[in-house]
């Protein structure tokens, strides 16, 4: 059948099972929006306040559901506004398809109005990108884009479509999407045998779980694996939820803000089993002193991660879930007895170095998050902004389910959380979504409150308001002789009134004894809520590893 490029685009989205698109209209995408008006029942379009919000929402949607997130923007500034969102998705390996309009083909390369070379700009932050210069290639490019976004290590793909392509007609035939193959070709019998040998000879194993566990849906396999090996488990920020946080083998976060137990364990283990993790600088700190007494067994889908940041002794390259399934089948019951000493060492560290925070001095951010956990029975989806709010949210909430902690781990994008919470809530309408924010991060993209209210999303935004750019201020406090350069926010923004102006419910929380009352009020409200929590400017995130130190030299609350 003869269809226009715009119609082909929408047909291809439906072919891929896309039901939601986060987008913003503009001149170069007029034809697409015109066609969209003909498909209102099949594709739900969410209109944010800003294209950055669209990109973060598509990303949050993808992380919460495991499906591909789709965002759409016009040429020029529309496209560049997606860039931070695309880079965020790239760093955290999130499957995203970003579609941008561009000026008509004859105007390309002439500095036309709202023209930008978005494929050039996004080359280093996408898995791949395309510009479509012939309408006959449009359908195949879209199909490839969805395939690439999901195949292997997931990531964002951008498709740039000049305006004339969306109005030209060509023949279109619907196709069944290509199945996404699991990467299993390199999971050889030898690789499994060698891994089993290492696991069997280890007396002090440690599993370091990363975001790959979540993205390959391998949480249950990891649980089985850890129990079979009787190995303690630590997690990167991206790995949270990939292993039950309330399990006796779980030690918590590792790295810069890791639990002391996790960090000590990494220095003492004789075998470190990295599962879908990439030894980022935020985890390893001083690479020379990281896990220096351990053999390293690295399991990852991306061959380029092996030996990239750290030298590994053995690796298995492939889909995490498939690798763990194979290992679980091959693993004979291990000699648990020989690990007793190690496991009791871990548990004594846990008792000795619990997550602690000063209980005096008013409303504590950690306590608020603990109560959110209690009041939602740990069933909520938590999105975060970036900074102290992010780490408190990571540490003080016990994540037991994958895809319930959604945070910008690699890029560290302030302003990510609100957009992400919108996408997560739309993708998981039956879940309670919280966005844990700081006042600085919230102010960056708070315009998306308008979106949450418009679509009647019952998101609860908890602003941990310390009137400061808290994480940077904390670094200035600890490592820059308390020179608080530009991090004290003496703004008079009234977040409650701001919430009300957007049509949300605004609540103030100032006293520790009101935490449950206010949170309950927020949970009972049917729409979007902003809870402004007045916390102390000098509350800090602990533990913290000073820059350049080995991770066992972690500073805790009491040190």
């Amino acid at each position: 059948m003869q269809l226009t490029g715009a119609e082909i685009l929408l047909e291809c989205l439906m072919e891929q099972g896309v039901d939601t698109v986060f987008g913003y209209p503009g001149g170069a995408v007029l034809n697409i929006y015109d066609a969209l008006a003909k498909y209102p029942h099949t594709i739900r379009h969410i209109l944010p306040s800003h294209e950055q919000g669209a990109a973060h929402a598509a990303d949050g949607y993808a992380r919460a559901t495991g499906k591909v997130g789709v965002c759409l923007a016009t040429s020029g500034p529309g496209a560049t506004n997606l860039v931070t969102g695309i880079a965020t998705a790239y760093m955290d390996s999130v499957p995203l398809v970003a579609i941008t309009g561009n000026v008509p083909s004859p105007l390309l390369g002439k500095d036309s109005f709202q023209e930008v070379d978005i494929t050039g700009i996004t080359m280093p932050i996408t898995k791949h990108n395309f510009i479509v210069k012939d309408v006959r290639n449009l359908a195949s490019v879209l199909r490839k884009a969805f395939y690439i976004a999901q195949e292997g290590r997931q990531g964002p793909v951008l498709i740039d479509i000049p305006k004339d392509i969306t109005s030209q007609q060509t023949d279109f035939r619907c196709e069944v999407p290509k199945t996404i193959p699991k990467h299993t070709g390199l999971i050889t019998a030898d690789a499994i045998t060698e891994a089993i040998r290492l696991l069997q000879s280890s007396k002090q194993p440690l599993i370091y779980a990363g975001g790959g566990v979540v993205s390959s849906n391998a949480a249950s396999d990891l649980l089985r694996f850890a129990e079979k090996v009787a190995s303690p488990v630590v997690s990167s920020l991206m790995g949270l939820g990939g292993f039950p946080g309330n399990h006796p083998l779980f030690c918590g976060l590792i790295g810069m803000h890791g639990m002391k137990t996790s960090n000590l364990a990494s220095s003492s283990c004789d075998l470190l089993i990295a599962v879908g993790a990439r030894f980022s600088d935020r985890v390893v700190s001083d690479i020379k002193r990281f896990a220096s007494s351990a053999q390293i067994l690295h399991i990852d889908i991306d061959p380029a991660e092996i030996n990239k940041n750290i030298h590994t002794h053995h690796h298995i390259t492939g889909d995490i879930k498939s690798v763990l399934e194979r290992l679980n089948v091959a693993l004979e019951p291990l000699d648990i007895e020989s690990k007793q000493e190690w496991l009791s060492q871990i548990s004594s560290w846990k008792t000795q170095f619990p997550l602690s925070y000063g209980k005096s001095g008013g409303l504590k951010p950690q306590y608020i998050i603990e109560r959110i956990h209690a009041l939602t029975q740990g069933q909520a989806i938590i999105t975060t902004e970036v900074g102290q709010n992010q780490i408190w949210a990571a540490q003080s909430y016990t994540y037991t389910l994958p895809r319930t902690f959604i945070s910008s781990g690699g890029l560290g994008t302030m302003g990510y959380g609100l957009g992400a919470s919108i996408g997560a809530q739309i993708g998981q309408p039956n879940k309670q979504v919280f966005n844990i924010a700081g006042d600085g991060s919230f102010r960056m993209n708070c315009n998306e409150l308008a979106t949450a209210v418009e679509y009647e999303l019952p998101i609860i935004i908890v602003i941990l308001n310390n009137h400061a750019l808290g994480m940077v201020r904390q670094w200035q406090d600890l490592f820059y002789d308390k020179r608080y350069s530009q991090t004290t926010l003496t703004r008079s923004t009234d977040f409650v009134k701001l919430a009300e102006a957007y049509g949300a419910l605004g609540l103030n929380l100032t006293r520790i004894e009101d935490v449950d009352t206010v949170l309950t009020q927020a949970l009972e409200y049917s729409g979007t809520v902003v809870v402004n929590c007045e916390i102390d400017r000098d509350d800090k995130v602990f533990p913290i590893v000073p820059p350049g130190a080995a991770i066992e030299d972690v500073i805790t609350e009491d040190s």
Binding site: T119, H128, D302, P303, H311
Partner: protein, 164 residues
Amino acid sequence: MNRQILSVLVDNQSGVLSRVAGLFSRRGYNIDSLSVGETEDPDVSRMTIVARGDDATLEQIKKQLNKLIDVIKVVTLEPGDSVYRELLLVKVQTAAGNRASISEIVDIFRAKIIDVAPQSMTVELTGDESKVNAFAQLMQPYGIIEIVRTGLTALQRGDKDIKN
């Protein structure tokens, strides 16, 4: 620092050169030369990349290249097992008395004079890097006006080809 010669088959798409070049620059990989051209299949181009780095970096370069969607295959060309060539064009100053001596060197190197002007001569030479370097050095005393080199290009020796 070791040197590695990579032969890379890529989809002949617009932007593929900048994807490859961008990968080297953003990850801080050292590149000595890069040459590219169409292959027997017009949809496929072949790049010869001379890169430098320690073993770990060279391993990363190959892995990162393999992640690019437009990259079809990456092969390391081992020195003993491959033939290398580079093309040099050099424009040398000529004076009344030295044309003959330049021409003599050109003959020894099996190079070719491809343009002669009142005060200059342009010479073409192909060879491996050391031959090209040696020739350029010998031209130096006459006064090199300009010089252009294509960068190394290479194939495996024998019946093998990159696809097998």
